[in-house]
């Protein structure tokens, strides 16, 4: 009797001990039908994420071809819902979504999740986290805010001045979190001369973003900087300032792709901008979704796994949302005249 009790106590103690710290290796070669769903097709960064995911798929020897499906920009919400619903009907194993529908995607994703489909969000999460297993975050959202505030300070200098934000859609969870984090960062005394006058939305469409940038300058004649935390917005704003011959007066900064921004950085329209690698983001998202779909790991806090060339990652609570789990990728690269040409190649 005593022995049994003792064994029981030992077992209980073992169970209470923290999980072994080693990262879970993933078994390659399993057939998993996986869908990579960007906000919409035809945007360079999502093609890069696709490239990274294909790289991971090849490494993991998944015999089922990765499906890269996306809506058109003008039909993003309804299109994403349609693709998730059809994928659910087909009974795919995993959906990796960069959510552009805010919580409106919730019901469709929940239906998929209820059917046992692994749902990983990347780039932009599901705000309520409903139906989502884990969010693969490109960078810490707080850090994004700090990096943007620092770039603004560097460009505007100690004299400071007025600046505006040109964002993507009003309901894009990632952009909204970054802007909120930037506003938080701006409270620090060293940014006190920076005056954020307005936030406008270009819906990640080039033409609309371009017009919004021009409208900003008309509305605020003493504007000195447009901060666009979206690759579409920053390129459109830089083009607008260049076309309007305002680059000496109004600078552009934010999150941009080196290949799209190199010309504007070299001619001084956009002296500095930042980004992470979307190839890595696609790669890590694929590893995460594959690990979850093959049950190598569970979608719970503390689960650890080995993601190929990128090393070990751990699932943690997502501090940027009320609920939900995340995997943090990081880090940031800041580009300026000194390094943009090399990165653009």
């Amino acid at each position: 009797m005593r022995n049994v009790a003792l064994t029981g106590a030992v077992l209980a103690a073992l169970a209470l001990m923290p999980q072994a710290a080693s990262a879970q290796e993933i078994k390659p070669g399993q057939a998993e039908n996986m869908v990579l769903l960007p906000k919409f097709l035809g945007i360079a960064v999502f093609d890069q994420a696709h490239k990274g995911a294909e790289e991971a798929a090849a490494e993991l020897k998944n015999p089922t071809k990765l499906q890269f499906l996306g809506p058109t920009p003008e039909n993003s919400v309804a299109g994403q819902i349609e693709i998730v619903t059809n994928a659910t009907t087909q009974g795919v194993n995993a959906i990796m979504i960069s959510n552009n529908a805010g919580d409106q995607i919730g019901p469709a994703v929940k239906a998929a999740h209820d059917k046992g489909i692994t749902v990983v969000s990347w780039d932009s999460p599901i705000p309520s986290s409903e139906g989502e297993d884990v969010f693969v975050a490109q960078v810490d959202f707080k850090e994004t805010g700090k990096v943007m505030a620092d770039m603004a300070l560097k460009i505007l200098g100690d004299a400071g001045g007025k600046f505006a934000v040109l964002s993507a859609s009003p309901d894009a969870a990632n952009q909204n979190a970054w802007i909120a984090a930037m506003k938080d960062a701006l409270k620090d005394a060293k940014y006190s001369k920076l005056d954020l006058v307005e936030t406008v939305y270009g819906n990640d469409q080039s033409e609309l973003s371009y017009n919004q940038a021009v409208a900003l300058v008309d509305k605020h004649p003493d504007l000195k900087l447009i901060m666009a935390p979206t690759t579409v917005g920053i390129a459109a704003a830089a083009k607008a300032m260049q076309d309007e011959k305002l680059c000496d007066k109004v600078k552009v900064s934010g999150l941009g792709l080196p290949a799209e921004m190199v010309a504007y950085t070299m001619n001084g329209c956009a002296p500095a901008f930042a980004l992470w690698s979307f190839v890595d983001l696609g790669y890590l998202s694929y590893y995460t979704a594959y690990a979850l779909a093959t049950h190598a790991i569970k979608p719970e806090e503390g689960a650890k796994f080995h993601a190929g060339r990128m090393g070990d990652y751990t699932i943690t609570k997502d501090p940027t949302r009320a609920k939900g789990l995340r995997i943090l990728m990081g880090p940031f690269s800041v580009y300026d005249k000194s390094n943009v040409e090399a990165a653009a190649k």
């Binding site: 919409f40 097709l41 035809g42 499906q67 499906l69 996306g70 809506p71 058109t72 003008e74 039909n75 919400v77 309804a78 299109g79 819902i81 349609e82 693709i83 619903t85 059809n86 009907t89 087909q90 009974g91 529908a101 805010g102 919580d103 409106q104 919730g106 019901p107 239906a111 309520s128 859609s169 009003p170 309901d171 939305y201 819906n203």
Partner: protein, 321 residues
């Protein structure tokens, strides 16, 4: 006899197209015939096909309503705003419907009583109603509605069928009776064919036109609220751009953009053609621009084929005489 004659025309062509698309879907995807998929096939576009019903009446009447998608957004945003400000859900829903009816009456007043072209009036509505919607919810999304409201849009309530699909079926029957089996339906056609003739034969044109626009506004509002239920949250761009898809469905159904001709059988077939085509492409993993192009090509053909047929026929006749 009339049915046979009809089937040789445009509806016949749509039917052949539909059979071909369904046959292709059945052979290409094992999931196509599942009950769940058939429900989804309707559910994913249900709000558009609901609005297409009143759009059919308007276009046959020789008018058009470009503001329907904005009214969908307006109704949903009014509902969201009222609910956010403490109104009980049923009142918020009624408020949304009332906003849609008012927007429709506003359109109808300028068209019927002032005599402005509906293209211009409802284009202004498209911009204006969307603007009001965006002001109401600003740049946020409003969710957190009662569970019963979300369930209406998201879960099957009548066997496998959702409330939205049942609403569509009932409305389809009502519009069919009105259009093809009532005095008002004949008036709708006569006005679309020849407004002057209708006026001189004593048809009360103004109230008739006004009532059509009010019906369009109310129906769009209903569809907007059902869409809000399906999405579970509302933002200012809800249903943005839907008007073109809705008009596409009606025109593909053989309704003349100049008014006076077309019928609900054609529109019903057109709905089935577009929905099955979209669903089939979705299941075949064809998305984005490719899907849009295929449907665009279909519409171009739908405009070209009858015209070419007409030309060929008249040339042929010319040779005979």
């Amino acid at each position: 006899m009339r049915l046979l004659a009809r089937l040789r025309g445009w509806e016949g062509l749509l039917l052949v197209l539909l059979v071909a698309i369904v046959a292709m879907n059945v052979t290409r995807s094992p999931y196509y015939l599942g009950v769940e998929n058939i429900v989804n096939l309707f559910q994913l576009e249900i709000e558009k096909i609901i609005v297409a019903l009143t759009m059919t009446l308007l276009i046959i009447n020789g008018e058009i309503d470009l503001s329907v998608a904005s009214i969908m957004g307006l109704a949903a945003c009014v509902m969201a705003w009222l609910f956010r400000h403490g109104a009980p859900m049923p009142w918020a829903l009624l408020g949304g419907l009332a906003a849609g009816g008012a927007a429709g009456a506003f359109n109808g007043f300028w068209v019927a009583y002032v005599g402005l072209p509906s293209l211009a009036v409802t284009l202004a509505g498209l911009i204006g109603y969307r603007g009001v919607a965006r002001i109401l919810v600003e740049d946020r999304s409003y969710g957190g509605y009662p569970a019963w409201f979300d369930a209406i849009g998201q879960q099957p309530q009548l066997g496998p069928v959702t409330v939205s699909i049942a609403v569509f079926a009932v409305l389809f029957a009502i519009v069919a009776v009105i259009l093809h089996d009532s005095g008002f339906g004949r008036i709708v056609y006569v006005m679309g064919n020849n407004l002057q003739a209708a006026r001189y034969s004593g048809v009360r044109i103004k109230p008739a036109k006004l009532s059509l626009f009010v019906a369009s506004g109310l129906n769009a509002a209903l569809a907007g609220l059902l869409y809000a239920a399906r999405l579970g949250s509302v933002r200012g761009d809800l249903a943005q751009g839907f008007e073109l898809d809705i008009i596409t469905i009606v025109l593909l159904g053989g309704v003349s953009i100049f008014g006076g001709s077309g019928n609900l059988v054609g529109v019903g077939l057109s709905i089935l053609v577009i929905l099955n085509l979209r669903n089939g492409m979705g299941l075949a993993d064809i998305t984005g621009n490719t899907q849009t192009s295929v449907i665009g090509a279909l519409l171009i053909l739908s405009v070209l084929i009858p015209n070419i047929a007409q030309t060929v026929r008249s040339n042929w006749k010319g040779r005979e005489t």
